[in-house]
Amino acid sequence: MASTSASAIEGTVTERRGIPAAAFVEDVQTYLSQSGLDANSALAFFQERLQQYRVVEMKLLAQQRDLQAKIPDIEKCLDVVAALQAKKGTGEALLADFEVSEGIYSRARIEDADSVCLWLGANVMLEYSCEEATALLQKNLENAKASLEVLVADLQFLRDQVTITQVTIARVYNWDVHQRRTRQAIATTES
């Protein structure tokens, strides 16, 4: 974890895959005098940062949903190829009912399946042997799962930055309120 020295934060990340990290503010007073901003400008800056984070979050969530839908599809394809391979040895045909159109099903008789055709996207379909198909699908599945892991880590990082920014906004606001109160107190005692 980060070092415990009061002024320096060692070993923190400044950005991750294009997402800027939110700098942690140790002391509000010091931060405002160093950056030369007044409370309102600082708040405006942080609010804008928060908006940018939200936009990126939406994008990442959409990507995550896509991947989470893709993975079960690939697993279903693997099941089908495995079923075809299992039937190959026995010499029996596989009878399957499939959907021709919505609500209309037909029966197919699949004899000794040496090869399968895989839909690769972009209107392209290629024929593969069962083993090659299994290998390809397996690789796609692993890639998808790896991408999902990276994506989840990105989202966690992003959410941390959002939390830090929200806490900083609250602290700057509190500090500002506190300042106004002390100034008012001084003003009333002087008058």
């Binding site: 974890m1 942690f24 099941d79 596989l94 399957a96 197919a108 966690q156 609250a170 309120v177």
Partner: protein, 128 residues
């Protein structure tokens, strides 16, 4: 989960505090994801139960078992075996998810104690 609120108090937020707050936020998110996953897993389990019950009642020797997008004609015994396997996989998965959920709840309670201890009213960690 709400972030550190305000009553104009003086308590300073250190980097360690911030990290604890971040950790709590992560755990809370994971907790909600887990609840959804557990709901799905329970549904799948129930469906498999219903399927195996239906299977016991049916007279046919050949059952149309869904593999991918098609319904393959598979002998009843084989279907029974497949369903048993699927049920085992889903119940193990469900167990794992429940365990993870319990551990997360425990961690969140720990963090709540620490954070409420330091910040008292200035922080709100409850669900809205």
């Amino acid at each position: 989960m709400q972030q550190a609120g305000s009553s104009g108090s003086e308590t300073e937020v250190t980097w360690e505090d911030q990290q604890k707050i971040n950790q709590f936020s992560r755990l809370n998110n994971r907790f909600h994801e887990l609840e959804d996953e557990i709901k799905l897993a329970k549904e799948t389990n129930d469906n498999l139960e219903d399927a195996s019950n239906e299977l016991i009642l049916t007279d046919d020797d050949i059952v149309r078992f869904q593999i991918g997008e098609v319904f393959a004609h598979i002998p009843k015994d084989e279907v029974e075996t497949r369903i048993e396997q699927m049920k085992e996989v889903t119940s193990k998965n469900l167990e794992k998810l429940e365990e993870e959920k319990e551990s997360i709840v425990a961690q969140m309670d720990e963090l709540k104690k620490i954070l409420y201890g330091k910040f008292k009213d200035s922080i709100n960690l409850e669900e809205d």
